[in-house]
Structures are given as C-alpha cells and as structure tokens.
Amino acid sequence: MKIFVCVKQVPDTETKIKIASDGKSIDTSGVKWILCPYDEFAVEEAIRFKEKNSSATITVLSAGPDRVVDSLRTALAMGCDDAIHIQSTENADSFITARALAKAIEKEGPAYLVFTGKQAIDDDAAQVHQALAESLDLAAATVVLNAEYGDGVVRLSREIEGGALEKYELKTPCVIAAQKGMNEPRYASLPNIMKAKKKEVKKMNLSDLGIQETDQKISYSKMTLPPERGECKMISGDVTTAATELVRILKDEAKVI
C-alpha cells in the first residue's frame, strides 16, 4: 500500500523577501528554507495513516533545486520511509511541478493515497494538488480538516467559506490536500533525525519523466514587493468631530467616497 506525500520547500515565514536584480524572481541569498507548514500536516497525516496500517509505506517527493533535499530529510525524520527529489528549476510553475510529481508517482506507484498541503506559503497558488489529481486521473479533496480512512474509501470534511464544513466520501486512490488543524505535526526525535540522514533520496530529472522546460505555462514578467504600509493616523476629539474628520479624510484625501 503506497502512500505519497508531495511537499514544497518555501522561505521561512519570518524571512524578509527581496526581489532579485532581474526584477522577475526573488533573491534567494539569505533565505532560510523550510518545509511548507501545510505540507507538514500532509506528512503527519500520512504517518498517522501508516501507524494504523502497517503495510503502508510512505514516499515523500518534492520538485525543485538541490536545496529541497533538506526539506525531504525533515519529512523523512518525521517518519516517511523514502524520498524522491525531482530536479527542477527555481521558477518552475505549478503545471510543470504537478506533471512531474504525477509522472514520478505513476512510475513508483500505484498510489493508494496522495497527500499534499492545501497550498504553498510562498506563491499561495494552491494549484498543484488539483493539477496533480487531474494528471493522475484521481479524485481530489482540498482544504481537508479531517479524514477517516475506511477500506478503499476516505470520509472527509473540507472547510468552505463561513467556517462551514463539506463532507465527502472519496474512493481510493485519491488526492487529499491538508488544511491547518487537520492534526498536530510531530517533532522528530533524535534517533529519527539520525535515521533520516541515511534514508534513500532517489533523484529524478524532468527529462526522465518526459517533461520539457517548454511545458512551462507561466512566465514571470515582473515582481514587486507589496507597497509599504503608510503611517497610521490617529483622529482625536469627541465622537462628532472625529466622525466629521474621518468623513473629510475619506472624501478629500483618500478620495474613496
């Protein structure tokens, strides 16, 4: 019973993002890379599934430059069995990544379950899980908060607007994209960190998987940082004067009313 977890390495949430000199990408120097927090939920979910299903093996895979191996090791330390690193470029789009992951899973499969995070916290595109399911021709559920695993079936709830939950029953194999709160990811123990250093990380190239760079659908023309937040303006005075002043500012200065 093969379980796959697709993960992405992203800049740490506290990293100050800088635009590279080409104006089209981010400056990766000084960036602290981490395993995407949503993908941690996916890894944890896979491990918990394995703990109840001893015949399961977990393969964690990621597409990206050589640095992503560190994040694969993090997932291995948490409890994945082996890893695949698909060598890909810094700015590969969701389409290429999803296709590459799908091809690798087909090669190593068949998959019983595929877990991913609901989105990566760098580009927040939230595309790969669905594109991946499409490439594998599997059902997918995204933003999943909890899942129960039956025989050949997964009963799950996914979060929708307004805090409501949608309940689904999916036939396996299927793709499940984890939302924060699905579980509490574990902290790897030292023996597992040590073991992870020795576990196999299989290398694959895009070309091995039949993908060309020309398959890229998105090209970046320009990247800019969000505008800096202006200073906060405090309006003093009693309620009437303050309200009058607020209306005046909104009308004359901000010109929104």
Binding site: D12, T13, E14, T15, K16, G30, K32, I34, E184, R186, Y187, A188, S189, L190, P191, I193
Partner: protein
C-alpha cells in the same frame, strides 16, 4: 566464666551484625556501579578534603539552618565522640581489660568525662528532633515511622549509656565517681550508694548488652533506611561538584552506539547520581525553597530524590543482573515521577544551594527532559514553536534572523565584521535584539558603553541564540547546533572580552561554551557597569529619589555567585535607596522563567511570578530592579496582574544607571 561467655557472645554478635552490614553496603555499592552512565572524573583532592572538613566535620552547611542545624551538629559531634567509646566497648567485651585505660589512664579519664557530657548533647539534639517533628511540624518536613524510629533508637542509645555509666560508678564509686560527671549526678539522684557491687555489676552488664545490641541493630538498619545518609553524605560531599558555576552535561550525540540519550530508565544515571540518592535524608530544606513546590506544582526536589531512590531500589535485581533492556522507563503509568514533575522545574538551583549534602537535583531534571525531547518527542506543546523558531531563525521568538541588528539602527553601533579588533564584544542576545522592552535595555547599555568610551562591537546578524532555552528544555541536539554555530563565529573573532546583557547568555557562554571549544572572558553587564563605576569612567550625578528593590536572577546569583555587582551599581547612584526583599541573594526566589519555563504555559498552581512580584511590592519600593530580560518580563507581567503598573515599575540596572547620567 561469665567473661568467656560474654567474649564469645559479643564477638558472635559483632561479627554477625558487621557481616550483614558489609553485605548490604556491598549491594549498595554494586548497585551504584551497575548503572550505565559514566560519572564525573574526580581529579582534585585538597579542595575535596577541605569540603569534607567544613561540611562534614564542621557541619557548616547543615548549621545554616540555625536551630535544627545546631541540634544536628550536637548529635553528629556527640556520636563522633561516643563512637570511640562504642569501639572500646566492643573490644573490651571480647578482650577483657583491653580498653582506653589500658592505653592511658589519663586519656581514659578525660575521654569518659567528655563522652558523658556529649551523651546529654546528643539527647538534647534528639529531644529537639522529636519536638520539631511532633510539635512544630514544619510543612516541608515529611515525618514517617522511619524518622521517629531513628530518633527513638538514638535516644535509647544515649539513655542506655547513661544507665550503664551510672551502674558502673556503683561498682567502684571511690575511683569512678566524678569520672562521669553527669552519670555521677544520676548516681546520687537515684541513691545508688546502697547498691551491692554484685548488683551494680549486673546492672552495668545489662545496659552494656542493651546498648551493644541497639548499636548493632542500628548498624543493620542503617542501609535500609533514610539514615543511609550517615554513610553516603560524607562521600557525596567529597565527590561533589566543586564551585558554584556548572555546565549542563554535554551529551555525545554523535555516538553511533548510543541507543538512548538522557535519563529514561533508572539505569541511565551515573554512580554519582546514585550517591546523591543515597545521601538524601529527606530534611526537606530543598522543598522549603523550591518555587515549584511553593506555588502548588507537582514537583518537590526532595520528593524527586526520594522517588528516584525508590525506583533505584525497585529495579535493583534487574540492575545487578545487568538486564537493562527489561528495565522500564522511570516515567510510566502510575509512577510518582510524571512529565509534569519534570517540566515544573525552573532550574533556579535553590534546592542545590540549600542542600546540606550537595545533592544535585537539577541534573535529574535536565537529563530527564533530554530523554523526553530527544527520544520521545514529548514536551509541552508550546515548545514546538519555540524549537522551530530557534531552528529557523536562531531565536526563540518568531522574528527573522536578518532583522537581529535592527534594534540598534541609528545608535552608531559597530559590528564585529567591520571592527573585528574591538576590545569588547557585546553579545546582545535574543531578548535585547527582538523583545521591545529588552531592546530599550540594550539601548541603555549601548549608551552607557558609549559614554564610558568603551571600544565595543556587536555580532549583528552573525549572532544566534546561545542555546540556553533549547538546552534547558532538553533539546540538546538543537542547543548543540546553535552553540557550534556561535562557537565558530566567536573563534573567528577571538574577542578579548564578551559582554552580555542577559544572565542566560552570560552563563552559557561562560560556563558551557568551553565544552565546545570557546573559552573567553565573559562578563554580565551589571559586573561590567560596576567596574566602569569603580574606575570612574561613569559618574552618576542625577538623584534617584525612589526606593529600589533588587531581584536576583538565578543565573546570575545561584548559578554564578554574582550578588554584589548589581547592588554596587545601584548604590553608586545618588540618593538611591535599596530595600531588600525577605528572600534575597542566594535565597532569592526565582521569577519563574528559568529552565525554558519562560516559553511554557504555567497552568498548575499559583503563578511563580505573582508570588515573587507580591514579595517585591511588599517592600514598598517603587522600582523593581533586575539584571535579566526574562526576570523583567515576568515581574512586569506580575505588576500588571496585581494592577500596580501606575505605582511600581520594573527596570533593568542599566536603565536606572543610564537615567542618572543624563
């Protein structure tokens, strides 16, 4: 005829009791040596002998608690004297007339006189013991049957000796009356003049046997009771950790053969820790001062020692047979030691400071945490984020590491990268770099340094958390990663002096970095400022007309013996009046933040910072001074919780000094 029978009976009794005693003691020594961890290396002799002289013979640590300590010393010294007589009794019982008088009649005369007085000293001590345990009943003192039994036997030993001496006088009043000054009074009191020599002899012999059998019974009982301390306390003091500062144990994480790290099973302790456990007599002094126990947490240091000792004895057979795999974890279903016990400790070391026999309670805590984190991944949930922050951004708080030097923008602070030959490396620490309140303290320190024309520089982005919170939270792996990275940077610059703005940075850099190959002169800012004042490089002139109370940080005080420097800074400020809290200096109560408790929720019992803040507010001082960003945070929270923020402020020593200069 009687003497022959007596000689044989005494010899048989002595041999039997001693054989049992030696057998049982050997088991205890074997048990000590059957645990798996390597103990400390004992290399020095003279300071150890001095410690034994002071703390065993002179009872100096025991006597710090005045009345019970004096009572204990009376019993101890009394026993030392009386034991000579006990040996004499045994020898004389076997070899008739081979006694002290045989060696020297004068010596014997003086000895018997003195020993007779010491009997009373011991009795008084024992009487106080009963009084304390049955009437005073201090909360920290656990009185079991064992304790009362020991007191009763001790009293019985003395009374039987008095009786024996009194009858002995009656056997030969002309030469013996006056030799035993107190027994002679009893002789007169009971009117033993009429006693026939024969009856006097019978009486003497009866009490000889009563006393001897009690001595031998006691001897056999000792290794089974908490009174084991009379055997183990001396060695424990001899083998103690010398000096106040100490480093946490460095675990070799690269050891490929290691199957476990830290203390999971009782077999994971060293012979020295076993000795610690044997040496405890449950006097409860550690419990009396423990911030965790004081505020209703499940941890009491004396109970911790007791519970580990029980566990050691419980697993005795498996340990002696070296069946280590069959030994269960110390923390298991139904065991007295729980995870809450282990996580309650603030590592303030009040227990170790007060312990009369130098037991190191915190070693058990630190090693147990190590095992829980590294092997089991079990720790309070809120620590996971803290660990992640330290892994990714090298600070326990969620701030990007590249913003570490942002606090000093515009202050004209140089970085070591641009000024590698600076005389002083100011190691700012995470609080000073990221915490809004502590940034102001760091700024005050910078201004003071600039005013005193100190040539200094900071590490800026090259600085990382010193590892203290990770290490004290049991994450030795993460701590060593941080330490090694810092060590590499420090060794690149080889600074002449490192100044820290935090006692935790100070303690780790000074006492623990040498374990990793970085040995530098490290000073805490209060010491550094006190030196600047002494040298006249800073001259406070503005009056500070408020009363100040100083809160001793554990990692400055009990971990490093620094009490006078912060006070010297305060006293140098005109008109500043220092009011001490009842618990100050080495008795100062922890703020509740040490041992990485700063980063954990405090859900059980009363909050420690409230307990301490109440004490500070109780002095009526308007300013609570501190030398530690963690203490400041805890006390500030305490002041807010007590709704005193309008009248009481918490300030760092550096801020107070800086104010008096501008």
């Amino acid at each position: 005829m009687y003497l022959t029978i007596k000689a044989i009976s005494v010899l048989v009794s002595i041999l039997f009791a001693f054989a049992y005693f030696v057998w049982r003691s050997r088991v205890l020594v074997q048990l000590m040596n059957s645990t798996q961890k390597t103990g400390p290396k004992i290399e020095t002799l003279v300071p150890r002998l001095i410690a034994v002289f002071k703390d065993v013979l002179m009872q100096s640590r025991v006597r710090r608690k005045r009345v019970p300590g004096t009572a204990h010393a009376m019993i101890f010294w009394g026993f030392i004297v009386i034991t000579v007589g006990t040996v004499e009794m045994m020898v004389e019982g076997v070899f008739h007339e081979i006694n002290l008088a045989f060696i020297s009649p004068t010596l014997n005369h003086w000895y018997q006189w003195f020993a007779d007085i010491m009997l009373l000293a011991v009795l008084l001590g024992v009487f106080y013991g009963f009084f304390r345990r049955l009437i005073l009943k201090p909360k920290y003192l656990v009185t079991g049957a064992d304790a009362l039994m020991i007191l009763a036997i001790t009293a019985g030993l003395m009374l039987s000796l008095f009786a024996m001496n009194t009858f002995k006088i009656a056997t030969d009043p002309i030469s013996l009356f006056g030799v035993y000054p107190l027994s002679s009074k009893l002789y007169s009191l009971f009117g033993f003049y009429d006693l026939s020599t024969e009856n006097a002899f019978i009486g003497t012999e009866i009490f000889y046997w009563v006393h001897l059998l009690m001595v031998l019974g006691f001897l056999m009982y000792i290794p089974h009771s908490k009174h084991l301390h009379i055997l183990a306390a001396g060695p424990n003091i001899f083998f103690k950790h010398l000096g106040t500062p100490k480093a946490l144990e460095k675990t070799n994480l690269e050891d490929e053969n290691a199957t476990s790290f830290g203390l999971g099973k009782i077999s994971d302790i060293s012979w020295k820790t076993s000795l610690d456990l044997y040496a405890c007599t449950e006097c409860g002094r550690c419990q009396e001062v423990c911030p965790a126990d004081l505020t209703g947490k499940p941890l009491s240091p004396s109970r911790l020692i007791h519970d580990f000792k029980e566990e050691l004895f419980l697993q005795k057979d498996l340990l002696l047979q070296k069946k280590y795999d069959d030994i269960p974890s110390v923390i298991r279903e139904g065991s007295a030691v729980t995870e809450d016990v282990i996580w309650s400790c603030t590592s303030c070391r009040a227990c170790e400071e007060v312990c009369p026999v130098n037991i190191e309670q915190t070693n058990l805590i630190f090693e147990s945490r190590k095992n829980l984190v590294l092997m089991e991944s079990k720790f309070p949930a809120e620590l996971q984020t803290v660990f992640r922050n330290m892994e990714n951004n090298f600070t326990p708080w969620a701030f990007g590491s590249d913003t570490r030097a942002d606090w000093c923008k515009g202050l004209g602070v140089k970085e070591m990268a641009d000024h590698p030959k600076a005389e002083v490396l100011y190691y700012v620490g995470c609080a000073g770099s990221f915490d809004d309140r502590a940034k102001k303290v760091a700024t005050a320190i910078v201004k003071l340094l600039q005013k005193a024309n100190v040539d200094f520089a900071i590490l800026g982005k090259e600085e990382k958390c010193n590892g203290d919170p990770a290490r004290r939270a049991g994450n030795e792996y993460l701590a060593q990663m941080l330490i090694q990275e810092n060590v590499a940077i420090l060794n690149k610059y080889k600074p002449r002096k490192i100044l820290t703005g935090c006692p935790h940075c100070f303690n780790t850099l000074k006492n623990e970095y040498p374990q990793f190959g970085a040995q530098y002169e490290v000073v805490h800012h209060t010491t550094f400022l006190a030196d600047l004042l002494r040298e006249g490089k800073l001259k406070p002139h503005k009056n500070f007309q408020q009363e100040v109370t100083f809160h001793d940080s554990c990692y400055l005080g009990r971990w490093n013996d620094i009490y006078s420097d912060p006070r010297a800074v305060l006293e140098a400020i005109p008109e500043l009046k220092v009011t001490e809290m009842p618990r100050n200096k080495n008795k100062g109560l922890c703020c509740g933040a040490g041992g990485a408790r700063m980063f954990m929720e405090e859900t059980i019992g009363k909050r420690i910072n409230i307990e301490r803040t109440e004490e500070a507010i109780g002095t009526n001082a308007k300013v609570i001074a501190s030398g530690c960003p963690f203490c400041s945070t805890m006390l500030t929270d305490g002041v807010k919780a007590k709704e005193k923020q309008d009248t009481v402020t918490v300030k760092d020593i550096a801020e107070i000094l800086e104010e008096s200069l501008t």
